[in-house]
């Protein structure tokens, strides 16, 4: 390796090849992924999140919630994701096409949140989430900085969280979620993947003694002439 320029060229080339292979390669495959238009429903999936929820995703990202929560359900036969009620089907790339910054997460200290609003039998409501965020739990920190404690002037706020006993605020005052907390709650309540895309269905296991198929291949063209199915429960 006496030739300096050749060494530099090699270094440059090595990184260029892997960048082209991984980043550009996957971009060519998925970059043009579109929402899925369902004729019978007359609309596209995934649906655009309301503005409040989109703002909430920024709050989710800036607080670093992804340090403990994932937002990716693995396929039913890979891990216990379905058994834990986190989702009936695996997450696919199309679920995230509208998200400015998907928060896949890398750690599961807390539950997966992909389908938080579609949980069965009962999904949390805004009140539950606001209380959890304010009070915390033995396993979840309470973020009181997302709430204002203020004097009640005139009518009490409809948004104030209802606390009883020792936790109740002093008489004449109330605890109201700030706008950030409200957006965060709106975002959490928008997390649901009710629609089954053709590519998201589990590939049936092949009969024994045959070579296993690639079960988590998800990328298929946007227009798959296939029968669609809607698991219409749990949509917020």
């Amino acid at each position: 390796m006496k030739n300096g320029p050749l060494l530099l060229l090699g270094l440059f080339g090595a990184l260029a090849i892997s960048w082209a292979g991984i980043v550009l390669g996957s971009h060519l495959q998925l970059g043009a992924l579109t929402p899925y238009y369902d004729d019978s429903e007359g609309k596209s999936f995934p649906e655009l999140a309301p503005g409040m929820a989109a703002r909430g995703q920024l709050v989710y990202a800036d607080l670093g919630c992804a340090a403990c929560h994932t937002q990716q359900v693995r396929r039913p036969d890979y891990g216990s994701d379905r058994a834990r009620g986190w989702g009936e089907r695996q997450s696919v790339a199309r679920d995230y096409v509208h998200q400015a910054r998907p928060q896949l997460g890398r750690s599961r200290l807390g539950p997966d949140l992909t389908n938080l609003a579609g949980r069965k039998p009962s999904a949390p409501d805004a009140e539950d989430l606001a209380k959890l965020l304010y009070l915390g739990s033995p396993t979840h920190p309470g973020y009181s900085f997302l709430f204002d404690t203020r004097q009640v002037v005139g009518e009490p706020s409809a948004k104030a969280i209802k606390l009883t006993g020792k936790l109740a605020p002093a008489p004449g005052s109330e605890i109201v979620p700030t706008e950030r907390a409200q957006s965060l709650v709106a975002y959490l309540l928008s997390l649901s993947t009710p629609y089954d895309y053709p590519e998201s269905r589990p590939v049936p296991r092949p009969a024994p003694k045959t070579a296993p198929a690639k079960p988590d291949q998800k990328a298929v063209p946007a227009t798959v002439p296939d029968v669609k199915k809607k698991a219409g429960e749990g949509k917020q």
Binding site: I22, G64, A67, A83, P141
Partner: protein, 475 residues
């Protein structure tokens, strides 16, 4: 091609080092400062794992933010500063002439560290990018790229103006680290921040960056030091040196393809993870070559070499475990658990940090022209930090194992898992405290040694010194 550094009994020319003293000590000193800062954040995040309410009221230090602060201070503060100091020094020495344009490095260091400070404030106030190992807010990143360029100038000049015919393995690694970081940092900025790719492609690009950062920057910086120090201290030519170029190119060509292993089972094309599994297995060749080349680190004594030995073992173990955990059948257990954190700590705190420590213990006496201030402090640092890191990784592995087992069983509620891992996480917090204390000790020791050198005129009449006279008191 046997052109490894020759016997260490050859006189060492310190005249080359004295000119670089100030700038390189500045880099090392700021690196150590960041290491302590990162240790404080690590302690906070570690306590938050078993006591979630800790500092929860403080919006600057939610667990997610503290985690990003810890990681950023470690990588862009400690590893960057210390690794660059070591890289520049190695390039200067092996280039055969004093480093030039060191003013650039000083200015670059100041702005780089200002960038890190700005970045940490940004993260604490909610501007992090939320990509692992790439959390610096977008507004500090271009400035840091420029600052990095300025720090690298002396290295580039030393490389292009080298007086020797052949080149050495530590030079390849140092040059690779120096050149490749701007490449991958700017490429990641483009596809993640300025013109972000859509949806889960961001996760793929972020995985590519995080892994390339490891394979093309962190590991080469640490190895540049190890490949320089081991033959010097062992006093003999590196064994199996003919394989070294192959090991080097394997790391650079294959290492960057392993990023997809964290996305196994995720909403990305399956080939991303498959190619990562293959690349992880191929990369084992690199770890094998490093083991072959640097096996001389065993059976040699001295503070520097002891750190490097520890670092090499951790580095090679990281490679083997990376390959093992990349398999789908293993990843189904280990993914999303503390085992992943344990593995990351093994690579960063066990591998890279320890090799950088070794390099610093070897380099600083040669820069200052005098031995370390206190051998007791050096020994204390070594014992505490090594014990701390071993206990930390062990505790995280136990927690991870328990968590992995319980996560697979859907009948165990998440809150019960929390109860099961509480004890090992408490131990991990104790270990973090120990590591923090040890690194604080090292910072104090470094300041003592650097100040002693600045306050008294250097006795540099005779520029030729035997390495043994510089090593002895600290070993």
């Amino acid at each position: 091609m046997i052109n490894a550094p020759t016997r260490a009994t050859t006189a060492e020319v310190t005249a080359i080092d004295t000119q670089a003293r100030g700038p390189l000590l500045l880099l090392v000193g700021s690196g150590l400062g960041w290491l302590v800062a990162s240790g404080i954040f690590a302690l906070i995040t570690s306590i938050q794992l078993h006591s979630p309410g800790f500092m929860a009221d403080c919006s600057w230090l939610t667990h997610g933010r503290a985690e990003a602060l810890r990681e950023t201070a470690f990588i862009y503060g400690w590893a960057a500063n210390a690794g660059l100091a070591l890289g520049l020094w190695v390039l200067g020495r092996l280039g055969g002439s004093p480093l030039r344009a060191l003013n650039w490095a000083v200015v670059g260091t100041v702005f780089w560290n200002l960038g890190v400070i700005g970045g940490l404030i940004g993260i604490a106030t909610g501007d992090m990018t939320s990509f692992a190992h790439f959390q610096l807010p977008r507004y500090v990143q271009p400035a840091m790229l420029l600052a990095y360029g300025a720090i690298a100038v002396p290295g580039v000049l030393a490389w292009s103006g080298r007086r020797t015919d052949g080149t050495y393995a530590s030079q390849w690694y140092a040059v690779a680290a120096l050149f490749l970081f701007p490449w991958l940092f700017s490429a990641a900025q483009v596809v993640l921040l300025w013109a972000p790719v859509r949806g889960t492609l961001q996760a793929i690009a972020a995985g590519w960056y995080a892994q390339s950062l490891w394979a093309c920057w962190l590991a080469p910086m640490a190895l540049a030091g190890a490949y320089y120090v081991v033959p010097k201290v062992a006093g003999r030519v590196l064994p199996s040196y003919d394989f070294a170029p192959l090991g080097f190119w394997t790391l650079i060509f294959v290492g960057t393809w392993t990023g997809g292993r964290h996305l196994v089972g995720g909403p990305v094309p399956a080939w991303i993870a498959t190619i990562a599994v293959v690349a992880c297995a191929m990369l084992l060749f690199h770890y094998m070559v490093v083991t072959l080349n640097l096996r001389g680190a065993c059976g040699t004594s001295g503070t520097a070499i002891r750190f490097i030995r520890f670092g090499l073992v951790a580095y090679v173990l990281t490679g083997a475990l990376d390959a093992l955990t990349s398999f789908r059948s293993v990843a189904v257990d280990t993914q999303f658990t503390f085992l992943a954190s344990a593995l990351e700590q093994l690579g960063l705190s066990g591998g890279v940090s320890m090799m950088l420590f070794g390099g610093i213990y070897f380099m600083v006496p040669r820069l200052t022209g005098r031995t370390w201030a206190s051998s007791a402090l050096a020994d204390g640092h070594r014992w505490f930090v090594m014990t701390g890191v071993v206990v930390l990784i062990g505790a995280l592995a136990v927690a991870g194992w328990t968590q992995a087992d319980a996560l697979l069983d859907a009948k165990v509620a998440l809150s019960d898992i929390f109860g099961h891992v509480r004890l090992p996480l408490l131990v991990a917090s104790g270990a973090q405290l120990l590591v923090l204390g040890a690194n604080l000790l090292f910072l104090v020791h470094f300041c003592q040694s650097a100040c002693a050198c600045c306050l008294t005129a250097a006795p540099a009449e005779n520029p030729f010194r035997q390495p043994s006279t510089l090593e002895a008191p600290a070993s």
